[in-house]
Amino acid sequence: MTSEPPPSISSAPTAAAATVPGEASLASESWTRFRSNRMAMAGLWIVGLMFAVAIFAPFIASNRPYYMVALKRSLAPAAAPAEPGKPEPPRTVVMTKVASFPLLHGLTKEDLRWLMYPAAGLAVWLFRRRLTARTGFIAVTAAVAIIEITVAQHKEVMDWTNYRAIAAQTKWMPPIPYGPLEQESPQYEPPGNTNWMGTDDLGRDILSRLIHATRISMTVGFVATSISITLGVLVGALAGYYRGWVDIGLSRVIEVMECFPTMFLILAVLAFLTPSLFTLMAVMGLTSWTGTARLVRGEFLRLSELPFALAARALGAGDRRIILGHILPNAMGPVLVAATFGIASAILVESSLSFLGMGVQPPTPTWGDMLSKARSGVISTWWLAVFPGIMIFISITAYNLVGQGIRDATDPRLRE
């Protein structure tokens, strides 16, 4: 923390602060404190940048031009219909200009998902004040349905044209003119003017693969952590709120789960399942929720004794309402911290699994898989060892910085 913001609620008045006084001011006060933490803000910017890279990956690195005008040779239509028995009259060759958008044309289903989900998320976020719990749920469901239908309708184009080699009148290539799966360059090419970060054992451009691999890490980090946090909050809230036998039973379950080293558990389960991104995320989420459950249980044990929870009960609020509406919002700080650190560790676990060859299967580019190439290579290839590792390091550091920032900003003990 570099400097402390003035400890007043009025310093950050928001529209929501007027409607829901306690809650929103706590959040906005925390945000003010978070913003004054330069390291945490840097981490947040890096995370944002990584998501931007993941969303626009094909527009940054692809072997297809955005826009191309090529001269197409074709024969002019015959002047007169060919008469039977006579040779066809010679036709003239005409060059016509053909404009095309190969990049947009060749977007995959995955590209579409990556473009549409963040946009939908942003829209929901912008209109969050207008949405109630019910309309919000409907909006999110509708958005998911629309996106999935659009994606299902979309046809992927198999376009193996080498656009870099085509001489065209106008050709706007992306800044990195190599596709992540394209094996056009020489193998084990050290970093240079053509391949800025070199190429791997199959002659694929490292930089392009790094950019596209951002998607896997971001998805796995986000989805696996969402699963584990949901599960952890559920178990922890039930144990901490109802106490007694529920608590004893659930605590035992937590204890038992903690006896299995997470890596072993994940690998043992993955051994029986067909490897795919989805199973990977599900297994990771289902095996790493115990920490959150412990944390939330503790928070619920503490908070449900406090006057505000007792007051809600005295006013006749039901269990569901007290848990979701009163206690959970007050426990969100530590949960958010755990989630952010959880994303960092999920990225680490995913890349170690891919490194071991047990994660996302090739040829999908992942940082861990790319890093493992450095070990198996016959010749010393420092660029294979250095660049993917740097990406893993930067993303983990960014999330850890954000997590630390949130902890500093929400910890009541640090509040003046």
Binding site: R252, V253, E255, V256, M257, E258, C259, F260, P261, T262, M263, F264, L265, L267, A268, V269, L270, A271, F272, A344, L348, S351, S352, F355, L356, G357, M358, G368, L371, S372, A374, R375, I379, S380, T381, W382, A385, V386, P388, G389, I392, F393, I396, T397, N400, Q404
Partner: protein
Amino acid sequence: MIPTLLGISLITFMVMKMMPGDPAVIKARMAAGGNMQEVPPETLERIRKTYGLDKSLGEQYVLWLGRMVTLDFGESLVDREPVTKRILERLPTSLQLSVGSLLLAYMISVPIGVMSAVKKDSFLDQATTFGLFVLYSLPGFWLATLALVFLCGGDYFKLFPSSGLSSMGAENLPFGSWVMDRIWHLALPLAVLTYPSLAALSRYSRSGMLEVIQQDYIRTARAKGLRENAVIFVHGLRNSLIPIITLLAFELPSLLGGSMIIETIFSISGMGELTLTSITSRDYTMIMGIFTISAFLTLAGFLLGDILYCVADPRIRLQ
């Protein structure tokens, strides 16, 4: 203890039942050398009877419980050796790594924590905090790969061996040189395995020490004229250790998981390597054995943590 053990047995049993394929068919194929396409029904019947697979789920679970308690996990599907024997062969190597790394981590991080607590907010404190945070975010398998590429031969430096735990013919060396050889081989794996836990441990040791320093008895110790070293190391240290001892138990699972990757990178034939090879060859009995034993080891770690807790703080008694 007992309920946790029961829970472990239940989870392993469930995972075992999740496995694809009929275990009796797998067993029959294994007995026939792996080239039996159609297994005769009477053979299946016999196998089911011998291994209790014809019994109800409840009875099968009780059988599994009995085998688990006696550490009898059957034979490996690959080389038909007893699973327990294979694991016990590999266990010392992995324990060398994880116990060594645990000791190293505590030996380094406790002094760091104490130092940054005593010199709170000094440049040294901030520098170590920052340095440890960076180390914490460095993925271990990346550093290990870098070390392998840059320090273990290839086109760059050759300072450390790239694989194994001892040189060729190390058994014939005199004891002193043997130890040196082992340390030379262990240096990189241990270092890579240890540094990720340094940040958390020294943070906890720092905050523990900070809390202790503000106590009345520390002021009393200073007031009666003890030297600062005596105040910190005799009166302060022991009390500040209590919170980080509980961390010991939580370090163990991650160490076991971490050593799996490190063992693979440095080609050390321990439990981790065994796990990976048995997963790639779908050696289900071996996987179950390793899975259960690693849970037992973690449980033992929890127990050790409890015992040390009582040693450090006599006010707490084991029930």
